[in-house]
């Protein structure tokens, strides 16, 4: 009998699939479900000129910008909720004239770009953005007339590789999200090369067979590769497992803000050395952020 092939790979193997200049799709929204462990591994490996696509960027995207990996950013929002209304590295890049193109858009433009990519369409239409300065600021948003009404035509933005954080996955790429599915399905749909799921827990396929309706990515959009990384969304929230780590979020922001304002130019570099470049693997990272004690707190605070 032939055996079904496992799609499980290591974090290092996963990030080696991303090339310079790629368009990288990221799961999650602000402080939820970003594939943080893969982002750290990618930064550590070194990559440049990425186009990053995500619904609402959080610490992961901000860190990629801070590490100099991003050339273009396609997202609706770059803030860290009440911790930092504007993400610090993003703000520095935008206000200090760094080489970062921000594809300014609203929810519908973002979704039209993803759907147009997922459906192989030349563009999709939305009314949002007519009567505003947006088409002048983001030249991809083109105003056209259809049946006497003004619309915005949004071109596709195909993704090369997507990192999708999820609570669980089986070894064959079937993925389960425990709470919100923010935009993961449409990101997966728009992905041309590899959908890579970073899951907190690898579960047996049997478990999914009992209740297939809980699966959020399967079939057409099943993950091509699966990486098991417990606490892989830290310091963000891994929905269904743990809260975001507010101490660490504040530590990150303090470091990046100090570097942005020039108050302590090396603060962000020290943060990165300590948490990204220093730890030799994810286990060492978990020790660095406070180990078992901190992790248990984050789980307990979900109750």
């Amino acid at each position: 009998m032939a055996e079904r092939s496992s799609r499980v790979i290591s974090a290092e193997e996963a990030v080696s699939l991303v090339k310079d200049g790629d368009t990288l799709g990221l799961s999650g929204f602000i402080l939820f479900n970003e594939p943080m462990a893969l982002i750290r591994a990618l930064i550590k490996r070194g990559v440049k000129d990425l186009t990053v696509v995500t619904l609402g960027g959080g610490i992961g995207v901000d860190m990629l910008i801070g590490a100099g990996c991003v050339k273009k950013l396609v997202t609706t929002y770059m803030g860290l909720q009440h911790y930092a209304p504007i993400a610090p590295n993003f703000r520095r890049a935008m206000e200090q004239g760094e080489d970062l193109f921000f594809w300014e858009c609203d929810f519908q433009h973002w979704h039209c770009a993803m759907k147009a990519a997922g459906w192989n369409m030349p563009y999709l239409l939305t009314k949002q953005g007519v009567g505003t300065d947006l088409p002048k600021y983001n030249p991809d948003l083109r105003e056209i007339e259809v049946n006497g009404q003004r619309w915005i035509a949004v071109p596709p933005i195909p993704i090369d590789v997507s990192f999708i954080y999820a609570a669980q996955a089986d070894p064959y790429g079937n993925v389960i999200h425990k709470a919100s599915v923010f935009s993961e399905r449409i990101i997966a749909r728009a992905t041309r090369r590899h959908i890579i799921s970073c899951c907190d827990e690898l579960i047996p396929n049997k478990y999914i067979n009992r209740e297939p309706r809980i699966v959020t990515l399967a079939g057409l959009v099943a993950a091509d590769y699966v990486v098991e990384i417990p606490y892989g969304a830290h310091p963000e929230e891994g929905q269904g497992y743990y809260m975001h780590d507010r101490y660490h979020v504040r530590e990150y922001i303090a470091a990046a803000e100090a570097a942005r304002t020039g108050e302590d130019a090396d603060a962000f570099k020290r943060y990165m050395d300590r948490y990204v470049y220093g730890p030799k693997d994810h286990n060492e990272y978990l020790e660095a952020i406070g180990g078992m004690r901190r992790l248990l707190e984050l789980r307990q605070s979900m109750l």
Binding site: T76, D106, R150, S180
Partner: protein, 284 residues
């Protein structure tokens, strides 16, 4: 004193609350008064304790069929008690997690493009800058777009909500001349009109914002000119204070009513059934 007391309930029948209350509690009460029982569903900004507490207060007081939409969840709390959580958590996800009617499995299908279906009747939005016709700037500050003085975090869904709701309300935390400007540096979302035309000609669900709430006053828009107008001044504040903190010429009627202060019914329900953690009583 003449009051602006627009509300589905007849507030003149309710006893005025004479104790102390915070500005945020008052603003939540004002939000609740704008919600009508036939609104079906309402949504609030990204994370705003004032707005979500205000909408839920309306559900407890007079809009028991209203579904509140937040963080991808649909919920009605008419017969539910809000679960306790610690104030260090953001309320919009965790407090609703266990009591939601359902969630959006694909945000794009439901939230971003409701198509022939109606998502919500009412929404509350804010802006870094707002001009006299209600145009909003959430993109950047500065005339040189390439080198902005301040780059906003992005639009999220402000256009989507501004255009797809029957009624929209503006809501700002600070009433100052940096917010209420004569001309916005960037038109992110349309008010009643701007250099590109009038919103009513574009086929959106509304023609512009209904009211503007600030910590010191309520404003609306004059019917023909669509120019922002002072509607009422909150207790403890004056018309002069509003004018000093507004950079454009606000229309001021001959007689400016006061904003109706909270009633005993409103404050009691707010504190015992909605904001049980006292989040609104703390300073922001």
């Amino acid at each position: 004193m003449k009051y602006f007391d627009d509300c589905y309930r007849d507030l003149s029948k309710e006893e005025e609350y004479t104790g102390e209350y915070s500005t945020n509690e008052f603003l939540a009460v004002l939000v609740s008064r704008q919600i009508r029982p036939d609104d079906g569903a309402a949504g609030g900004g990204v994370y705003s304790d004032v707005i979500y507490n205000g909408v839920l207060l309306a559900v407890k007081l007079h809009a028991s069929d209203l579904t509140y939409i937040t963080g991808g969840y649909y919920m009605n709390i008419a017969e539910r008690k809000l679960p306790k959580s610690t104030p260090t958590f953001l309320p919009w996800e965790y407090r609703f997690f266990d009591i939601a009617d359902g969630m959006m499995y694909d945000h794009d299908c439901q939230l971003y493009n409701p198509g022939p279906r109606k998502l919500a009747n009412v929404f509350f939005v804010g802006g870094m800058q707002i001009d006299k016709y209600g145009n909003i700037n959430n993109t950047l500050i500065g005339k040189d777009w390439k080198n902005p003085k301040l780059k906003g975090p992005g639009l999220m869904g402000i256009l989507n909500f501004n255009d797809n709701m029957k009624r929209i309300y503006y809501f700002v935390r600070k009433h100052d001349r940096r917010t209420f400007v004569d001309e916005v540096d960037f038109i992110s979302s349309m008010g009643y009109k701007n250099k590109y035309g009038e919103k009513k000609d574009f086929g959106f669900q509304n023609n512009g914002p209904t009211l503007v709430f600030t910590p010191i006053c309520v404003m609306d828009f004059e019917e023909t000119s669509k120019h922002m107008r002072l509607k009422s001044v909150h207790p403890g504040h004056t018309v002069e204070e509003v004018l000093d903190n507004t950079a454009f010429d606000l229309i001021v009627p001959d007689e400016v009513p006061g904003t109706k202060p909270p009633t005993v019914v409103e404050i009691t329900a707010l504190r015992t059934e909605v904001d049980t953690l006292g989040v609104l009583r703390e300073a922001f």
